[in-house]
Assembly symmetry: C2
Homo-oligomer: 260 residues x 2
Amino acid sequence: MNVLIVYAHPEPQSLNGSLKDFAVRHLEAAGHSVQVSDLYAMNWKAPLDASDRTDMPAGARFDASMDSKHAFEHGTQSPDITAEQDKLRWADAVILQFPLWWYSMPAILKGWVERVYAFGFAYGVGEHSDARWGDRFGEGSMAGKRAMVIVTTGGWESHYSPRGINGPIDDLLFPIHHGILYYPGFEVLPPFPIYRTGRMDEARFAATCDALGQRLDDLWTTAPIAFRAQNAGAYEIPALTLREDVAPGEHGFGAHISHQ
Amino acid sequence: MNVLIVYAHPEPQSLNGSLKDFAVRHLEAAGHSVQVSDLYAMNWKAPLDASDRTDMPAGARFDASMDSKHAFEHGTQSPDITAEQDKLRWADAVILQFPLWWYSMPAILKGWVERVYAFGFAYGVGEHSDARWGDRFGEGSMAGKRAMVIVTTGGWESHYSPRGINGPIDDLLFPIHHGILYYPGFEVLPPFPIYRTGRMDEARFAATCDALGQRLDDLWTTAPIAFRAQNAGAYEIPALTLREDVAPGEHGFGAHISHQ
């Protein structure tokens, strides 16, 4: 199978760098093809702006959505965007790997999402009607592909527990899992978090690689997070609120996951 | 009073641009001093990297925290970082204004946080002991200052409601409100969200400005979000989980807000 690792860390000689190298070796040893988008090494341009459309008329008002749509439809996207979209089309599975900085992904990775996720490619896909609100949240261009997050934190696991001060890791990752990966159709696997990275010695690194290797071996069999599909009856359209009989009384991120 | 607006939108002739201009005029008319960090106009460098420490030894392994600490302590931070830290010191209130892209702030603003929030400035401040876990979440360099988010979304208000498919807006903003603003000591005001920006006409824009003007008039009197202070008894240290008798049975982001 084809695996794309989108990797965001500025230092190759880091825990993240070592884990990324391990993942590549492990996947290739299992017979998979691997591409790595090493965003720092690529000097990836983070900010989405008018230069992302190569035929932007001089002096025109830039509209992030409409100019993305135009560029995607007319083949006038910046070449670095097109190259990443081709990698996504090629991939059977996508891994986002990053350190958690200020409770989210690093800016350079956020900018990869903003620029590569063009209108017509990752959003603005499919019909909007009384019955459907676009091909998203369970449908879309990435349908049939799997995705997983590998994330490191300096904080302790308890700090990210259900009553931990940082908030639960699953809730911090919800905007990524649900909003960035499930949105264009990925099946999203449970994440692989590594906590308290300041306390990593050889033995713990070896154990971490063992556990990560197992997750990579199970990439095609692990059950995805059971997010509810947008257009399959769970939501009112166009309000996009859960129907009364779905998860009655529940609210918040967790209500969008089926526990059946 | 002194107000810093950190503003992230690529197009001056946008709703965001118009709202930013309105906010500046309104605050100045009320006698306040205003500075704007217009990140796109400044061509702000988004990715945090080794060049942020100007005396980085050639070939050395870059450590995001330790090199930030060194640079902050030794006056060898990149000048663009120092300038923003000076604005934060000057400000009595800080407004972050941005469009919600993929359920979070734009990459360029995330990169402002990552680079300006140096070790020793916004984190790594204060003692770590059995009784305290640093000056953070209610204490820190920004104590006594207020902060507020102005955020625009293409999606409808119902999509961001308690049972809306995107997740509740307050939960989506929690990593910013609590993790980025409350962390270094800001008092965080309720946000000012503007939904369904594709349906903005003159009348609605005027009403939006009226409402925003009121919020700006009330910047010093609005009750902040009642986040629980880390070192004031609500949390076990060092586990940083809520004590059993605090919000018993509650978990998730909402448990960190006092409803007394």
